[in-house]
Symmetry: C2
Subunit: 152 residues, 2 copies
């Protein structure tokens, strides 16, 4: 897998991820620890909620997306280091048994004005389910290392 530096990125590049199956027990375990609301914990309560069925916490979807990103072919030098987000939303619930994968698009590249050794890329990561329906859209800015600048 190639590690990519600031200079290697360009607007329009796309990357992809593997797939991850969403387990019902993992939905409940994550929710019990971090988002203990009835519609993430219990099928019957979830049926009566706005979700009309058990749904993963949005933060769980974000965490699963991060897991897919770390394992994807999108490998910036220095790692995936978030420097703020422009957009994060969950257009559709994630259900037990869903199979998630990512579409990763570079939508901005910007050298740092103060530090020539680094810069920022803006990345749109769309998390899709097995029917290619977006379940999360997240546009974030990442800190990326530049190659050593040529001297002189």
């Amino acid at each position: 897998m190639n590690v990519l530096y600031l200079e290697d990125f360009a607007v329009g590049q796309t990357f992809s991820s593997g797939r991850m199956r969403v387990d019902v027990q993992e939905i409940k375990t994550f929710a019990a620890q971090y988002d203990p609301q009835p519609f993430h914990l219990d099928e019957e309560a979830a049926q009566k909620s706005i979700f009309r069925g058990l749904a993963a916490s949005g933060w769980h979807t974000a965490a699963m997306t991060m897991r897919l990103l770390v394992g994807s072919d999108f490998q910036p030098a220095g790692g995936l280091i978030g420097a703020g987000m422009d957009e994060l939303n969950w257009p559709k619930p994630v259900r037990p048994g869903d199979e998630l994968h990512l579409k990763i698009e570079i939508v901005g590249v910007r050298p740092s004005k103060s530090r020539p050794s680094q810069g920022f890329i803006k990345v749109r990561t769309t998390t899709l389910n097995q029917n290619d329906e977006p379940v999360q859209i997240f546009v974030g800015n990442l800190l990326v290392i530049a190659r050593l600048p040529a001297s002189g």
Copy 2:
């Protein structure tokens, strides 16, 4: 604890949470499952990284923030249901042993045009460490239920 409906919210209201101590093992467990990068997993590797020491995944901080929100005195009717985010960033790393708490501010209230039974509130949630330094700022929009409208 009072459950709050759309009509109960007003710009300027604030709410607060309990406190949560960040455990080193929990940082590593979360990272191993969802964000397996060296600076979230291993003290020695983290020392050599941009974080200069073990730091929690930003998504872990977001998840811990959600846990504090669910247990806070901010209790919208119908639960905490995210409808998109305006801002999410992590101004400072979260370290093992940090003690987190929230400052929750209502910054917008808007009835739904299409559905009078619901509306949206915009909430700024600042996650602070034991030195009252912000470690996460997140401005999100939540779906909130209105009281039944008076008939006639």
